[in-house]
């Protein structure tokens, strides 16, 4: 237990300046109702067309409060590099699974723009809450891919230290992690820290009760949490139309008193802009917020899945044309920010990462069976000590 401190009924949080109420400000600035402020723009936010050309301002559907500027080229270039690396890692991992070197991998091939933007919009002290599919986001935030992959190799349930990276475990039970994110944000707020938490989930996951409870807790306690739903159209085999009848998933925000937005999830520029503004709003006390990113999973749910059973190849092909990488690549090339040399350097970087992963996965680490009993409690119970001794005994007899 930490040092006792005098209890005085005052919280650190109370000493801060009152948070902005963006709904009130929006109604002052634009004359819109709080309800209009909370609803998403009438169409998804997009800054880059699928062909890589910038969407003209006039076509961006600039509703009051929903204008988003194009991020500057340097930022886009940094992000683009992560996009390419992310794709390479996704594909490398799928290869490793096919070779039996990894137990399972849920690839985010096609969704890398969401992955990269989720990581890049945060500051070092902010927290990221990813799912099983969000390995690329985790790596983009700086976690060593080898630490990430130990889970999927089957060495342990989790690889990296969540506190060190401010990246939570990759959650499997759907949307349970959104509540953890809210709790982390609540603790930070109680201590008067000014950190933002970004919490991710999929479209299917929005149907779970924990999704509802998380958004509501965040709203009631006015916590700086940015909820990012990657809507890739499917929950394993189940299409969005069997998951919801809402006009959009972003329309769920108003039911919590939360502002929301929809964004083209294959448009890295739009994502950076929308999430960047979202994080800023949260930091100013205007959170929580809900962002729905429209994207597509180009491969099966995991290597164990067969997506030909539930979706047409034509549908998949259509999304090739909306690929987040080619789109950004064309835009940056057109801007003169990405020449052949830069492209080459980025490919090499990605290739080097993949190679490192391949090499690391080629050999199995030494695992100590006694670890099974080490982390159940801080101190093993007598029961666990007995069981540990029994296993040790069994193993030594087996060896003998």
């Amino acid at each position: 237990m930490s040092e006792p401190t005098p209890a005085d009924g005052e919280s650190a949080a109370q000493e801060h300046t009152p948070p902005v109420n963006p709904a009130v400000e929006a109604s002052k600035n634009f004359g819109i109702t709080p309800e209009q402020y909370m609803l998403p723009a009438s169409s998804e936010i997009r800054l880059l067309n699928p062909d890589g050309s910038a969407v003209p301002e006039s076509e961006q559907g600039q509703e009051p409060g929903h204008e988003y500027p194009m991020p500057d080229t340097d930022r886009l270039l940094t992000a683009y590099e992560k996009l390419v690396v992310g794709r390479r890692i996704n594909d490398q991992n799928m290869a490793l699974v096919r070779q039996g070197r990894m137990a399972v991998y849920p690839s985010s091939h096609g969704q890398e723009a969401c992955q990269v933007a989720a990581a890049l919009c945060l500051e070092d002290d902010d927290w990221l809450f990813p799912t099983y599919r969000d390995s690329v986001a985790v790596m983009s935030r700086g976690v060593d891919p080898l630490e990430v992959m130990s889970t999927y190799r089957g060495d342990w349930h989790g690889g990296y230290d969540p506190r060190q990276y401010k990246v939570s475990i990759q959650a499997t039970p759907l949307t349970t992690q959104l509540l953890h994110a809210v709790g982390v944000a609540h603790a930070a707020k109680l201590r008067g820290e000014n950190t933002v938490t970004l919490a991710m989930c999929g479209d299917g996951a929005t149907s779970e009760g924990d999704f509802h409870e998380a958004l509501n807790f965040a709203a009631v306690f006015q916590l700086p949490v940015l909820f990012l739903v990657q809507n890739n159209g499917y929950a394993i085999s189940v299409p969005l139309s069997s998951q919801t009848r809402a006009p959009s998933l972003a329309h769920k925000g108003v039911g919590y008193g939360m502002a929301s937005e929809r964004v083209d999830g294959n448009d890295l520029a739009a994502l950076l802009s929308v999430l960047g503004r979202g994080v800023e709003l949260c930091r100013q006390g205007g959170g929580p917020l809900l962002v729905e990113a429209m994207t597509y999973r180009m491969q099966a749910h995991t290597n164990a899945d067969d997506d030909t059973r539930y979706r047409e190849r034509d549908e998949v092909s259509e999304w090739v044309a909306k690929d987040p990488i080619t789109r950004m690549q064309r835009y940056l090339s057109d801007q003169g920010a990405l020449d052949d040399a830069a492209s080459e350097r980025i490919s090499e970087h990605a290739e080097a990462m993949a190679k490192r992963l391949r090499e690391a996965m080629a050999s199995k680490p030494e695992l100590d069976p006694q670890d099974l009993f080490r982390f159940v409690y801080h101190e093993p119970t007598t029961q666990l000590r007995e069981q540990a001794a029994q296993l040790a005994d069994d193993l030594s007899r087996e060896e003998a």
Binding site: V104, P173, A235, V238
Partner: protein
Amino acid sequence: MSVSKVSFAKALNTALADAMEASREVVVFGEDVGTLGGVFRITDGLTARFGRERCFDTPLAESGIIGTAVGMAMNGMRPVAEMQFDAFAYPAFEQVASHVAKMHNRTRGKLSMPLVIRIPYGGGVGGVEHHCDSSESYYAHTPGLKVFTPASVTDAYVMLREAIDSPDPVVFFEPKRLYWSTAQVDLDELRSQYENGTLPRREGRAVVAREGSDATLISYGPSVPVCLAAAEEAARDGMSVEVVDLGSVVPYDDETVAASVRKTGRAVVVAEAQGFASVASEIAARTQERCFHSLAAPVLRVTGFDIPYPSPSFEHHHIPSSERILDALDDLQWED
């Protein structure tokens, strides 16, 4: 009608189809059970054959699945709900414990809950966390629920049919590492025997899966084949080991178990779940209560350790093995 090689998964699939054929009240739903046929393909082909109204995907919400199943059962249906994996049934725990288990009792029998919750469970398939729990004890501890878990291809068919026909709610545990096990079975024959009522019932009846005289292994589900292997091995050492397969954990067959243990005088309970406060504890407790004076040694348990189910690289240490069972048999104070 003819005997052929049938997988455990196919037997379950056939049982579902036959039950749907037998009664329009039977509806099957859950996550990915429709178009995909379930992640284990246990519901494969049912939507094509019976239509989207009778086998369908739900939104992704387990409490929603079980809660609506309760309502369907209230209103004359016999829902068969699939939980995709063991640990993903936990969000539905309140609906199961507070409603599925109690609605009949609460209404003094006015309402019935003839529903089945199918749960693929247990490990041994290299699954990652949350995909390998043996969660049967939670349900077995909840009065009002029946808990079945088949260990053979024939029982997979028969017990699922019994579960669906039961007027009471059944949590039906499918040992996922047995899905791909096979046996020579005549499913057509089985169907007609079941439907004619000429098959002995499995509910509430343990079966002696192997006869023996020196000690009894009491087990169920995925541990039964391990027990049979251990008994085989023991036989090579001259020990005659009886194996009792519960199949029906609730209701529990005291008679068959006690008869075996009184005969052999020694018993080991084998189950994959963590042992503390589990079904294995119950079996050990009631076996000594009933057979104390026939016992030459305490009733021992070989179970998973009291740890969260481990990652794939470690699971072989955790799952009761033939060796651990043989060790336990050795520990039964044979000198007595």
